[in-house]
């Protein structure tokens, strides 16, 4: 993998969409740690004399109904979204990869049982299952992340299982087994490198989906709770002021779109680069 990285980059660079996506992701990655430096105000600072203020030099994107600076809240919101993407996909990967590996290596009844369980998860419209899980476990960002993680599991499990089934039949893996390599070693040395590319693509796309889904949950009041500066929650509270302060609708939504677009474009670019590198 490491030796082919420069070649992968050369192929990725030629993909215009991928490069645009990378720029968007870099903006997100910069905004998250730099929010305290870049933001003109604190995310929860209230300026009660400047409620629902139009965009001005003091508040470049205007303020909300509590007089909080919209630009600052959007910048701080990048932290929440990045966290959502990384943790949401992290949960799905850390359960999905072992499940897929176990099913693939064990075969037989255990394989059947695990994969039917994945089928069951896939029998629900994904976002709806997340809504139900969070709704019942209690609305919070933490539960929203868990729910997003759970609905992402089957994708990764299927991917890893498919790779295991292919790799297991390879003569060099049989040889490795014959030499006394355990299942763990085969998994790390042969299976994971063989599905690293698809997993990377899937995880990148998955981070975009996770951000979109958590924003949707927060929009319904099921995810991040006030005063957390989360983009979906900001849109939801901006709805009440749609006629007096339309900027409250415009910017948080655009932020979600650009962040998701960044992950989607980079994911697609990586997929194309990997496919043409074969």
């Amino acid at each position: 993998m490491s030796r082919s990285t420069p070649r992968l980059w050369r192929r990725f660079r030629r993909n215009r969409g991928g490069v645009v996506g990378l720029l968007l992701l870099m903006a997100l990655l910069a905004a998250a740690p730099l929010a305290p430096v870049l933001a003109p105000h604190g995310p929860a600072d209230q300026d009660l004399l400047e409620r629902l203020a139009r965009p001005s030099p003091r508040h470049p994107l205007g303020t909300d109904d509590l007089g909080r600076d919209l630009l600052s809240r959007i910048l701080y919101g990048a932290r929440v979204s990045l966290l959502v993407g990384v943790v949401g996909v992290g949960i799905a990967l850390s359960i999905g990869v072992p499940v897929g590996a176990l099913a693939g290596f064990a075969g037989g009844r255990l394989d059947q049982l695990l994969m039917r369980a994945m089928d069951v998860l896939l029998s629900f419209p994904a976002f709806l299952l997340a809504v139900a899980i969070v709704g019942i476990a209690g609305p919070s960002l933490q539960n929203a992340l868990l729910a997003i993680g759970v609905i992402g599991i089957p994708t990764y499990a299927r991917l890893v299982r498919a790779t295991v089934l292919v790799v297991k039949a390879e003569p060099y893996v049989e040889a490795a087994h014959a030499l006394g390599a355990g299942t763990g070693r085969v998994l790390v040395r042969h299976v994971l490198p063989n599905c690293a590319g698809p997993l990377l693509v899937q995880a990148t796309l998955g981070m975009g989906t996770a951000i979109l889904e958590v924003a949707g949950l927060s929009f319904l009041g099921l995810g991040a709770q006030p005063p957390t500066p989360e983009w979906g929650a900001m849109l939801s509270s901006g709805r009440a002021w749609v006629l007096t302060a339309p900027w409250l609708l415009l910017w948080p939504g655009l932020a979600i779109l650009l962040a998701v677009l960044g992950f989607t474009l980079v994911g697609d670019g990586l997929r194309d680069a990997l496919a043409s590198a074969q």
């Binding site: 039917r116 069951v120 629900f124 419209p125 979109l212 998701v260």
Partner: protein, 338 residues
């Protein structure tokens, strides 16, 4: 074909058992005692105990699940905590609204998606192709709840062309027959009500259609480009067939299976997206019912909604699979040897 359908229906049994288990399990995700949560802090211990008994929460886990399955088998989904009405009845009232919205959105998505994809593929690397590609990329990443609000702001608030919310104007005299309002208005010959319900359907329908349109357009473009490279296309052109005939009769027919696949997958997006779209446009369907039930802590109703959504999704997926056979006669299904 009949044997294949029977086989597929049989395969649904374990999946549906699993679905019922997950639905059943949701009640046990509650932090604390579900009965206490449903009745609130001020409920008397007697009332809580009575509800615990009614829900069967005082019995062992396995017994609870078997009883739940037993009740499901007889179509008994319990009663709503808020209204004390049968859950099945509540679902029946809202279900047509969601199906009408989802089918309308899917219709729009198939027409627009296939048209946009075909336009792109027939003129690769032109302005149309770039516009289509950019449009579908943005569409896939679109937060539909945001798009819905923007459309509402533009067409309802600023231009005043379309209604803000609901399925019908309050003054409408539509007679309800099937509760699919477009169908009802046609059945009763009420053209005014037809126009009225169509106008109400337009914004939520377009909002919900965005993501599926983008996916279908993308897949149509890719599948058509691949099909257009085939030898038979060269033959068709050599025969002197016009380009539209080559594209629509020869290439599109062969691109149909991947397009069908992605369309089937989009039913999940549609049903999940209905939750958000219905909330924005106050569409009185199953999605909004789910959210309302969640905030009211009406768990039997939440479970019923979840179950009905999953059942619909599973059956729509089965339908898509059956359509493959129609689309591509080479696909022959036979039961796998067990």
């Amino acid at each position: 074909m009949a044997r294949y359908v029977a086989h597929r229906l049989l395969l649904l049994v374990p999946v549906l058992l699993g679905v019922a288990f997950v639905t059943f399990l949701t009640l046990h995700l509650t932090p604390g005692d579900p009965a206490q949560i449903m009745l609130g802090e001020r409920a008397t211990p007697e009332a809580v105990a009575a509800l615990r008994e009614r829900l069967g929460l005082d019995r062992p886990f396995a017994t609870q699940f078997l009883r739940y399955l037993g009740r499901l088998a007889t179509g008994d989904l319990g009663r709503s905590i808020q209204t004390n009405n049968e859950v099945l009845g509540e679902l029946g009232l809202k279900f047509p609204a969601t199906i009408e919205l989802a089918l309308f959105a899917m219709g729009v998505a198939i027409v627009l998606g296939v048209a946009a994809g075909a336009l792109s593929a027939s003129r690769p690397a032109t302005l149309w192709d770039y516009l289509g590609t950019i449009g579908s990329t943005v569409g896939i990443a679109m937060p539909v709840f945001w798009l819905g609000l923007l459309l509402m702001l533009l067409f309802s608030a600023l231009l005043g062309w379309l209604p803000f919310s609901g399925r019908l104007s309050p003054a409408s005299d539509l007679q309800r027959v099937t509760h699919f309002y477009l169908l009802d208005s046609l059945l009763t010959g009420n053209l005014r009500a037809f126009g009225d319900s169509l106008r109400h359907l337009l914004l939520p329908g377009l909002t919900l259609a965005t993501v599926p349109t983008a996916f279908i357009a993308r897949m149509t473009r890719a599948a058509l480009l691949e099909a257009l490279g085939g030898e038979y296309i060269r033959t068709a052109r050599a025969k002197g067939l016009s380009e539209p005939v080559v594209l629509l009769r020869h290439a599109l027919r062969n691109a149909l299976v991947p397009v069908l696949t992605i369309t089937g997958l989009q039913f999940g997006t549609l049903l999940g997206g209905a939750v958000l779209t219905e909330s924005i446009f106050a569409w009185p369907g199953l999605g909004r019912l789910t959210v309302d039930a969640i905030f009211a802590r009406d768990y039997p109703l939440v479970q019923g909604c979840l179950l009905l959504f999953a059942l619909t999704f599973v059956l729509l997926n089965l339908l898509t699979d059956l359509l493959y056979v129609r689309a591509d006669p080479r696909i022959r299904y036979r039961p796998e040897p067990a």
